[in-house]
């Protein structure tokens, strides 16, 4: 099994090269079939690794450059249960997306598949690598393919969104590289295990903490946390919907998983980094959950709405990481997969709207979805899951994070979880009610859509597009429950104990985490109730008392408008916010240091 460890990366890379070579010769659907099969093969490989990685982590050294004593010169791949499980989920999402995009990109031949396979290879590499510079390379490959995929349509909007995306995320790569340089200056090595040893020897070195700040900022930009979140809405709204599925379901949460990896595999011995994670990152997560949810409610462009909901849910994911406990990480793992399944399905439904109804504006599409009612049912299921209904994997993740938070005395985060979840669920259910049931009439002036006419190619039957949607939703519904939660926590405990020292053979004993009842069993009911209430409120605005509408417009309106106005699409402003975020990091570091 160990010798197969590079295959999840090598296989898509090789297939991508072959497809590119033969793209002129291959007829019609062959690239679709080959790409789907490749993703399924990667899924099979990584699932097998998930099973094998339970006993002990798999370690592979490229070119057999095994370490001599504690001296590491080679580049290693390490997979324990948690890494392999995330890698397997990403492969599954790619396979579903390839089916969803069947024939959609036929006019650019195999280029879409080539880029997507590169994207897949980069993400698998990011999950498995155990070398900091190697991590940077996968991060870069991921970015560059994402830039190209965003701009693929070559329309004015998608080009502008892609420009913002490219500039901000390139800055992230530069920050990451600077962080790697600083860390190498102190440690003289790039292997995670050897770096951790060096940090443990000098846990109070400010240069190393500075390196962490740069690395974390880079990953937070990619992970779209407040105040680095601005690029995400622009890029997700304009990217083709199969690409948005991967962005929201895999790329953005993977960056945050990277923070968890860096912390537990390298920086855990440094007390200043621990303090930064517990305060600043938890705060950023909570702020993202609430602000993302509030901005989500203001959107009428469905893909933009889903993009803000991603920011909100990623905030909750980051809280799980910032709690620094096996249960928190276990919750993060469950939340990662649960969110990816639901959000992937939702972006596919947005794609169905674009293909069959040739529109993406919630108000413009009011009542026009009746002919494609099966998509409406899928949207309702996804909205209820997103809104915190007490079933399925997403809910299990939220429960674990909530439990871990009250264990570590951070019970306040439940407020952020409730607000974020209720706002995003409410927004999705509102959009569903408007498009598929024709509810929520609006006065004339709002009928004009603020965005340009958009549509995607309508060359696929509805049932073909609904297959991957239902598959993802069924998985999101059926996986879940205490059993899965316990497994996630166990995998997280092993990830924490094993992954860092795996390259040098230092495996600690995993912590046994006792099961605990969730501290707020009513929370899922509260959030789903709030979601339905928000949806009902927004849909029945015309019937509500005038005085209430005037009241909420006067006091809430300007605040929400200011929040939306910050996302002004101006790349200079976005970069200024990145600088402010960096300053925030330095300030917190200074406060903690003194």
């Amino acid at each position: 099994m160990t010798d197969l460890l590079p295959l999840p990366v090598a296989l898509p890379l090789a297939v991508a090269a072959l497809l590119l070579l033969t793209s002129k010769l291959l007829p019609g659907r062959i690239p679709d079939i080959v790409a789907t099969l490749t993703a399924l093969a990667v899924l099979a490989l990584t699932s097998a690794m998930t099973l094998v990685g339970q006993a002990s982590p798999l370690v592979y050294w490229f070119g057999h450059w095994t370490p001599r004593g504690d001296l590491v010169l080679g580049i290693g791949f390490v997979a324990s249960e948690a890494d392999a499980a995330i890698a397997a989920f990403i492969a599954l999402l790619f396979a579903a997306t390839f089916v969803f995009a069947w024939g959609y990109f036929a006019d650019i031949r195999a280029f879409f598949h080539v880029l997507m396979l590169l994207f897949l290879a980069a993400m698998e590499g990011f999950c498995l690598t155990h070398d900091l510079f190697n991590l940077f390379v996968w991060f870069e490959v991921m970015s560059v393919t994402a830039f190209a995929l965003t701009a693929y349509r070559l329309e004015a909007s998608s080009l502008e969104g892609a420009l913002n995306f490219t500039v901000t995320n390139s800055l992230a790569s530069f920050l990451m590289l600077s962080g790697i340089g600083l860390l190498y200056l102190r440690a003289g090595t790039l292997d995670f295990g050897a770096l951790a040893q060096s940090i443990a020897a000098t846990p109070h070195d400010p240069v190393e903490v500075g390196a962490f700040c740069l690395l974390a900022t880079a990953l937070l930009i990619k992970g779209a946390m407040v105040p680095f979140q601005f690029w995400l809405a622009d890029a997700h709204a304009v990217a083709p919907s199969p690409v948005s599925v991967i962005f929201s379901g895999a790329m953005v949460p993977l960056a945050l998983f990277g923070i968890a990896k860096l912390y537990w595999e390298i920086f855990a011995p440094a007390p200043a980094v621990r303090a930064l994670m517990g305060t600043l990152l938890a705060g950023m997560g909570a702020a993202s959950a609430i602000l993302g949810g509030a901005a989500c409610l203001q959107q009428r462009h469905i893909k933009r709405l889903l993009a803000f909901s991603t920011i909100s849910h990623m905030g909750i994911l980051l809280i799980g990481i910032a709690l620094l406990s096996p249960r928190g990480i276990g919750g993060m793992l469950a939340y990662f997969v649960g969110h990816g399944l639901v959000k992937g399905a939702l972006f596919m439904i947005a794609g169905i709207l674009l293909a069959t109804l040739a529109g993406i504006d919630e108000i413009g599409l009011r009542g026009r979805g009746r002919d494609i009612w099966p998509a409406g049912i899928a949207l309702a299921v996804a909205g209820v899951l997103l809104g915190g209904a007490p079933v399925g994997l997403l809910d299990e993740g939220a429960r674990l994070i909530d439990t871990a938070a009250s264990e570590s005395g951070d019970g306040w985060v439940v407020v952020a979880i409730v607000i974020g979840t209720a706002c995003t669920g409410g927004a999705v259910l509102r959009a569903g009610g408007r498009i598929f049931l024709g509810l929520g009439e609006t006065p004339g002036e709002e009928k004009v859509a603020p965005s340009e006419e958009e549509s995607e190619k309508a060359n696929r039957p509805l049932w073909l597009m609904l297959i991957p949607v239902s598959l993802l939703l069924i998985l999101a519904l059926l996986i879940g429950g205490d059993n899965v939660g316990r497994r996630a926590v166990r995998a997280a405990a092993r990830f924490i104990a094993w992954d860092g020292g795996a390259s040098l053979g230092h495996l600690a004993t995993p912590m046994t985490v006792p099961t605990a009842a969730p501290p707020h069993p009513f929370v899922p009911w509260l959030t789903i109730g709030l979601s339905l209430l928000i949806a009902a409120h927004d849909l029945s605005r015309a019937q509500l008392p005038r005085r209430w509408i005037a009241f909420s417009d006067r006091y809430l309106g300007p605040l929400l408008k200011a929040l939306d106005g910050m996302h002004d699409g101006l790349v200079g402003d976005y970069v200024a916010w990145i600088v402010i975020g960096l300053a925030l990091f330095s300030l917190s570091f200074a406060v903690i240091g003194s």
């Binding site: 510079f133 390379v137 870069e140 560059v144 830039f147 190209a148 701009a151 070559l154 329309e155 004015a156 909007s157 080009l159 502008e160 969104g161 892609a162 420009l163 913002n164 490219t166 500039v167 390139s170 800055l171 790569s173 530069f174 590289l177 600077s178 790697i180 340089g181 600083l182 190498y184 200056l185 790039l190 622009d234 709204a237 304009v238 462009h301 933009r304 603020p450 965005s451 340009e452 996302h567 002004d568 699409g569 101006l570 790349v571 200079g572 402003d573 970069v575 200024a576 600088v579």
Partner: protein, 114 residues
Amino acid sequence: MTLLPWAVAAWLFGIGIYGIITSRHYVHLIACLAIVQSSTYVLLLSVGYRWGAVAPIYYDHPPGTPAVDPVVQALVLTDIVVGATVTALLLALALQVHKRRGTLDPEKLRPLHR
């Protein structure tokens, strides 16, 4: 080790960021991004530099001669390749934007016409 390379790296980073924030033309903005990237080259090279050491090529030096760190030089090479890719992609995007909208002023180009 002197402070000069660190100061140069910080200066390049700062001036590049300032340029991006205030830029009114995308080609100028892309050049500023390249300047920010050059700060990482300077930083990495100064990390691996040793006074009085030779280049890490042992063809005409006996083994054991002090040499500068080859690892960071490999990193910088990779970084340059990445930079070339990103700059080329950005310039291609800017060209396409100019074809469609006839301007490259970020103020006038906003996704979804916000």
